[in-house]
Symmetry: C2
Subunit: 191 residues, 2 copies
């Protein structure tokens, strides 16, 4: 029962944050949308900041689970990046909303929100870093700084799914793979 | 005389925008800093938006001139990117201020400011695109989409000089070349 309520609150909160943004979402709003008394929400989450952190942490966990399902540490990094991209791009629209939301919250949120988001980015980067370290060990990619390489991959992904669409047609999945392949793995130098 | 006054106004405006940001800069402020009557500023620039556009356009022209001086169309793209980076990184601090300013203006400025900034980004991208098209023609780099490649290079540059420093030591010049070399030209795949 308790788990169900928490689940419903988180779902309503996620929808509200996605539809109305971080600032415009209120605890009242989430209470109404989840058909739960406001007091009940406060049993689970101290304030909007905490609720937001929980929503983002859950989204991240979902994405990680989905990516993990299709990756295989015995395969080359390139294959895994490709497989993870296929999986994550299925959720491109909701992912875009999330990234925009994260930027809004960083801009307008409190210090607590910003710190939580920085921490989450750190988690993603560390996850990527681990995969890169393994790939270097296996001779799968050339030696490189795993930290900057993880940073570069995340920035590139964000630029392709978000910034590019500001003034162009969205990139098709296949284009996205090809770009990652060309820029990150093959490089532009003629072979 | 007129040219000198315009010059002084633009210099004072550039300093004010850099120090206090887009929003906090006023025409009064610029008049005082350039020791020019406010009416005189309005002879040259209709409003703050126009003044801002002129400042950004001038900065851009300066950077382009500097980069052009060290580039040579007979050399491979990689050498030219390296040379242009050496030159531009000399102005990294002021460049960082400019990029931050541009983001502030995009966020808080009027539609006119946003359009002007979009136009400027377009100019930079077209410039890069031309260089990339030539490099492909010469067999200097592998065939690729020049538009997305220009976009990717600009995003990567911005990420390295700006975002990286949010939570790390600034990258040294040599590191910057090496990263561009590894990620853009060589690629991570073992050769």
């Amino acid at each position: 029962m308790t788990v169900d309520k928490k689940r419903e609150i988180l779902q309503a909160a996620q929808q509200s944050f996605s539809l109305f943004g971080y600032k415009a979402t209120t605890m009242d709003h989430v209470a109404k949308a989840s058909q739960v008394a406001k007091g009940t929400i406060y049993n689970f989450f101290k304030n909007k900041e905490e609720l937001f952190q929980a929503v983002i942490a859950e989204l991240l966990q979902e994405m990680k689970d989905k990516a993990e399902l299709v990756m295989d540490d015995d395969l080359p990094l390139k294959k895994n990046v490709h497989a993870a991209l296929v999986e994550l791009l299925e959720y491109r629209k909701s992912h875009q909303l999330t990234v925009k939301l994260v930027y809004e919250a960083k801009d307008k949120g409190t210090t607590a929100v910003r710190e939580a988001l920085d921490h989450i980015e750190e988690l993603i980067l560390n996850y990527l870093k681990e995969k890169i370290v393994k790939a270097i060990e296996k001779g799968d990619i050339r030696p490189c700084d795993p930290e900057i390489t993880a940073f570069m991959m995340l920035k590139l992904y964000r630029a392709f799914i978000l910034d590019w669409e500001e003034r162009h047609e969205p990139l098709a999945k296949e284009e996205m793979f090809q770009l990652f392949d060309e820029y990150v793995f093959k490089g532009l130098s003629p072979s």
